[in-house]
Symmetry: C2
Subunit: 455 residues, 2 copies
Amino acid sequence: MEKPSLPKGTRDFGPQTMARRNFILQSIRTVFQKFGFQPLETPAMESLETLTGKYGEEGDQLLFKILDNGDFLKNVDAAKLEIRNSKLVTSEISGKGLRYDLTVPFARYVVMNRHEITLPFKRYQIQPVWRADRPQKGRYREFYQCDADVVGTDSLICEAEIILMIKEVMALLNISDYSIKINHRGVLNGIAEVIQATGKETDLFVAIDKLEKIGEENVRKELAEKGFSTQQQDILFDLLNTTGLAEQKLATLSAAFSSSPSGKKGIDELKDVFNLLELYKSTTDNVEFDIALARGLSYYTGCIFEVKINNVSIGSISGGGRYDNLTQAFGAKEKLSGVGFSFGIDRIFDAMEELNLFPKETTASSKVLICHFDEATLQYGLAILTSLRSAGIASEIYPDISKLKKQLDYANKKNIPYTIVLGEEELKTDMCTIKNMLTGEQQKQPTEQIVHYFS
Amino acid sequence: MEKPSLPKGTRDFGPQTMARRNFILQSIRTVFQKFGFQPLETPAMESLETLTGKYGEEGDQLLFKILDNGDFLKNVDAAKLEIRNSKLVTSEISGKGLRYDLTVPFARYVVMNRHEITLPFKRYQIQPVWRADRPQKGRYREFYQCDADVVGTDSLICEAEIILMIKEVMALLNISDYSIKINHRGVLNGIAEVIQATGKETDLFVAIDKLEKIGEENVRKELAEKGFSTQQQDILFDLLNTTGLAEQKLATLSAAFSSSPSGKKGIDELKDVFNLLELYKSTTDNVEFDIALARGLSYYTGCIFEVKINNVSIGSISGGGRYDNLTQAFGAKEKLSGVGFSFGIDRIFDAMEELNLFPKETTASSKVLICHFDEATLQYGLAILTSLRSAGIASEIYPDISKLKKQLDYANKKNIPYTIVLGEEELKTDMCTIKNMLTGEQQKQPTEQIVHYFS
């Protein structure tokens, strides 16, 4: 048999990676819970009826589909088989797919459980999703999403709390140099109105969204190709190039939007969010009003967010925004407005590695390994092990009688920071020799003091 | 559009269920880590080459297979399509499947990373698995497994520690009335030798394994049908009906196995495990030597375990054993012996619900909801919210200005135990009215004392 391998675009997470990923996930989970969000988990498989048509045509093609069990070819239409039309045959041999994101399953859950749910409903969800994308650096076919959403309220308190949560997560992760960019769909619509480009919003926003990446000149080129006049471009860049603190920018745009109700609404809501931050005794540090932030096109209807870590070669690590109607795609009559955001674990992980931000103690290792020389010292070690564990200290004993070197190697390779070495002498005197594996330093402690020493 | 639904045999886990499941999982994780086990996660999808042939023919049929992306029909052999042979076509249109258990992915990981792994390797893995079984009460198509294994050592310390870990998990879950059954493959082989049934082990062990369920008479009937003589049955039940404490049973069987080396080895190892428990300062409470425990047939080669909670209508909640060669199926030359066990989360969950064992505070709810009457009291509440959260107290504010009744209903439905009600009076006097939602009791506290009150 050939050596086994992993499917393209998937990964194993060994102990060290797991410890670091769990550090990130646990930080996020802690903050979500402190802000009153409740956990939800949905199945990996969803009906294709639930998934199809929710992510555009490209998304449909990236869904992983599950082959029906049993004799799936039995009832397939002969004509479809004959012409080998994979697309038409798919729907006859596959009824389920793997979830593509956490938003559609969340909406499906809300529709199915509408009567048991108390609004506003605050849920978080941390689970893997699957996409048949072409794998490349930083893009995988299985990856985790961490979403938090509030549905059933229009209150801007939710928007303010998203900023607060991002700040708390960043603090727990020791990330200090980052920007939370915020904009509002109304502001973007206002810009379209002001430059008289109503009806051409998509072209406009797609171009604007690239500003940071490709610069003004290239955005102008793209706009010109799409039929925007030089005058329109000039007014646009007058607005986009508004400088100053958030407060000043908001004032400038407020004036520019005097005849645009949606622009005005956007500015007013952003002002409210900034005011709320103050009432929460927080600050606008790390928060930036970014007029060019577009983030997708049709889904969001209110505030939009994006978070970037500065000075790393990694895209945004978090984003989200307010939407009008979570359950529309499922034909629900009731309009459920909400706001949500999501953390990108893989990117946070890469950024923290690049910036060397993981605490040294983020390992999945025991704190202590007990080493011994023979049956008698091994047996002596078992009682010590029990007392360490009773005190909650993760510890282990080398299970075989082996050379001390092999036991110390094991500790080193597993990043176990301390060993207790038990020889004949230690046994006789009821002492433990403790070795710090990092410094090599050794000292003796009475066995009865050992728990105290490590606590 | 029709109301959406879940695929057969799958479940959503809402907030309350999640909180309880997490309580179980966190208890297990804590114990695994305290005993030096390190986390591993593998992808949901594995190559079908990795999965197929590892679970018997029935298992192969229960694998969920992923349809290849793109134009999967393009290169399928015309003859296979023509005769509509689903089995033959499967291998041409599907190269991946969902993992069926955690053992095969673990073995695959060990083979692929053999050079980076330090032996003995202690890993735990808590992830969902998928099986296209017919769904029924307590049996799902997606469910979690929680495995811990040590590979690369024959030391019986591992077996003893499995018992210790099970005891610690049970203690954390408040489960006191349970039995850890232990037996040894050698004992079973010894029985086969003693009753001269070598070569018919499978029939024998399958029958023995049913003893608890169907009773001696029916086991005898089954054995008779399989050609076991009455004399063989009599000797067998003499052995199976050995009574007394583990020590006495071991002594009795030791004598019976005087001419069976494998039986003798089994007894000796079990004795060693019991002795080790004593050296660990633990006891044999809840541990039972069960001669009739067979647990699967060919996989295990040494000690075998099974855990049952007494007085609930639920099967075993944990099981495992020692195996000879983890990576054999992948053609690895090196023989890696190991021992592992697994907890069944769904069954533990059901048992704990039946026995009402979940701590009352196992909810995913905030501790405090801040209620208000108007813009001013809401704003006053925001600063209080910040101070509560700064102290790590999960809390929220009702985000809309609504009737107090609606806000209190929200707290009740979400099992939030305390509300802070802020009215004009409270605002003026810098006081908070605290309401215990369970007892209805109310009291006032100065706002500056509020964090202290809830800490």
